[in-house]
Structure formats: structure tokens, C-alpha cells
């Protein structure tokens, strides 16, 4: 099993006594204890949110919002041992809310994006396009499957950890990952086709 450099061992599926103590102290209003929880979770949570919404800046903002919401609602957390999964649920809801709101504000097709960026097929630009394309595809996977997909495929978490973090059945993780992978694949090919058609029209 592999973890990203800089993360503490991901024992977050079952929290340590030290962490439960920090949560209880935070619930009593101890800001230093909450700072410690922030230091422990902010990096991995922002990585998760950035991949959820496909935008670095928005992901970071949502991370701050998640911690603010967590601080304000800490007393509603009955079991301090489930802090991590509670935090991920807040984060996931924030990401969904953001995307629903963004969808209401504007609907942009890949064709528009491709036109605006004047796609080329070689050089560093194509690398940027590929990165942007992957982010876009990722952000378009169904909300039900996306969290599992990101945690399993990108964050390399185990199925058990994901089940605990997202508070879902262990048997659902495999299903959601497989559906997420297939959706990613279909969306990727559809977008690439749209890009190529758009390119073809521009050349004509």
C-alpha cells in the first residue's frame, strides 16, 4: 500500500486516542487542538477537494470552508473517533454544493473550452491540455462514484479506509470504483471525440 509523502500513516479510518483527545478538546473550544487537526488533515483534504472539483483555487477555498463548518458544528459530532469520516462528509457535501451552484451559473461544453484555448497538438501546450482534460473528466464522474474513484485510484486508499471515510458499505466501494472507472473512460473518449470534431470544423 502506498501513501503520499508528507502524510502521517493513514490510520484515519480508525482514529488514534491522541486524535480523539484533540477532537474532544476542540469541542470544548480549544483552538490549539483544532489547529492540530487542521495541520493533520488540511493537505490530504485539499488534494481530495481539488480533484473533486477540478480546480486548485476552488479546492483550497472549499478546504477552508470545510474546516470552518467543522469548527462551527463540532458539538454535533457525537463520536469523536469518527472525526475523519465526518470531516470528509462535510468536504464532499461542499464539493457537491459548489458544483451544483456552478452548473446553475453556466454550462460550458468542451467544444467551447477547446475553441477558447485554441488547442494545439504538440509542445508543452498539449501537456497542459491533457492535464486540463483529465481534471475535467474527473470532475464529471457521477457524484456517487467520484469520491470512491478519487480515494482509490488517486489517493491509493484501501477499500476499508474508503468505506469508513465515506461511511458506506465495504461492498459498495468496489462497485463504485468500477463504475467510476468506466464512467471516466467513456467521458474521456467522448470529450476527445468532441475536441477532434471541433478541430476538424475549424480547419474546414
Amino acid at each position: 500500500m502506498s501513501y503520499r509523502i508528507g502524510d502521517p500513516p493513514a490510520n484515519e479510518a480508525g482514529s488514534s486516542p491522541d486524535e480523539r483527545e484533540l477532537v474532544v478538546r476542540s469541542q470544548r473550544g480549544d483552538q490549539l487542538a483544532f489547529e492540530k487537526l487542521y495541520e493533520r488533515y488540511s493537505n490530504r483534504l485539499s488534494r481530495y477537494l481539488i480533484r473533486m472539483v477540478g480546480d486548485d483555487g476552488v479546492g483550497c477555498e472549499l478546504t477552508q470552508e470545510t474546516f470552518l463548518k467543522a469548527w462551527e458544528s463540532l458539538l454535533s459530532l457525537r463520536d469523536p473517533a469518527s472525526f475523519a469520516s465526518w470531516l470528509y462528509r462535510i468536504a464532499t457535501n461542499r464539493a457537491y454544493n459548489y458544483q451544483n451552484h456552478a452548473r446553475l451559473l453556466r454550462t460550458v461544453s468542451w467544444e467551447d473550452v477547446a475553441d477558447a484555448k485554441e488547442l494545439s497538438t504538440s509542445g508543452p501546450e498539449s501537456q497542459i491540455e491533457e492535464t486540463e482534460l483529465l481534471k475535467l473528466v474527473l470532475a464529471r464522474i457521477s457524484p456517487t462514484y467520484r469520491p470512491c474513484f478519487i480515494l482509490y485510484v488517486i489517493e491509493k486508499r484501501s477499500q476499508r479506509e474508503i468505506a469508513t471515510l465515506l461511511d458506506i458499505k465495504l461492498s459498495s466501494v468496489g462497485k463504485y470504483v468500477s463504475r467510476g472507472k468506466e464512467e471516466f473512460r467513456q467521458i474521456y473518449y467522448r470529450m476527445v471525440n468532441e475536441m477532434q470534431e471541433s478541430e476538424g470544423r475549424k480547419k474546414r
Binding site: I50, D56, L68, Q159, K175, E182, F184, R185
Partner: protein
């Protein structure tokens, strides 16, 4: 169509890491993939996409290493307002 979905009964096993499967499932999957072009193509795509996602550049923006000094302020000001109200009640 080149990107047909994989066979339904193998879909989940195909998407999981090899080490997440039992030895029997690993073996059965390997045998199936060798004989099924659709599942073989899906698996190749899954591996390709995972490698591309692993190679995504790290985020250009990072969260603050510590909470901003103003983070706790709204809660504090609420508390202060509450205390002020309580004090006023006591005074009057």
C-alpha cells in the same frame, strides 16, 4: 466501438487492484482477460488512465499551513456579543 464496457460479471474485479483480489479471482481474471478483447481493452485503458492521473502535476495552489489568524474570530465575536448582552442585562 473500441471502448465497449467490460463484461458485467468481470467489471468490478477488473477495476480493483490485483492485490485486492483473492488468488483464485486473480487467476480467473487473468484467464478471462486473455480470451476477451473487450475486457482486455478496458483493463489497458484503466491502467493507462491511472498512470496519467498519477502523473498529474501537484496543485499550483496550496492551503495555508496553519489556520488564518482570523479563522476563529466570528465565533469569538459571537461570544463577545453574548457576553456583552449578558453584562448589559446584569447592569440594568
Amino acid at each position: 466501438m473500441k471502448n465497449r464496457p467490460p463484461c458485467l460479471e468481470w467489471r468490478e474485479k477488473l477495476a480493483l487492484r490485483h492485490e485486492d483480489l483473492s488468488s483464485a479471482d486473480q487467476l480467473a481474471l487473468d484467464v478471462h482477460v486473455q480470451s476477451c478483447g473487450t475486457c482486455s481493452a478496458a483493463l489497458a485503458d484503466y491502467d493507462f488512465f491511472e498512470a496519467r492521473l498519477d502523473a498529474l502535476p501537484p496543485p499550483t495552489i496550496k492551503t495555508l499551513p496553519r489556520l488564518s489568524p482570523t479563522f476563529f474570530e466570528p465565533a469569538e465575536s459571537d461570544l463577545e456579543q453574548h457576553l456583552q448582552r449578558t453584562e448589559r442585562k446584569v447592569i440594568t
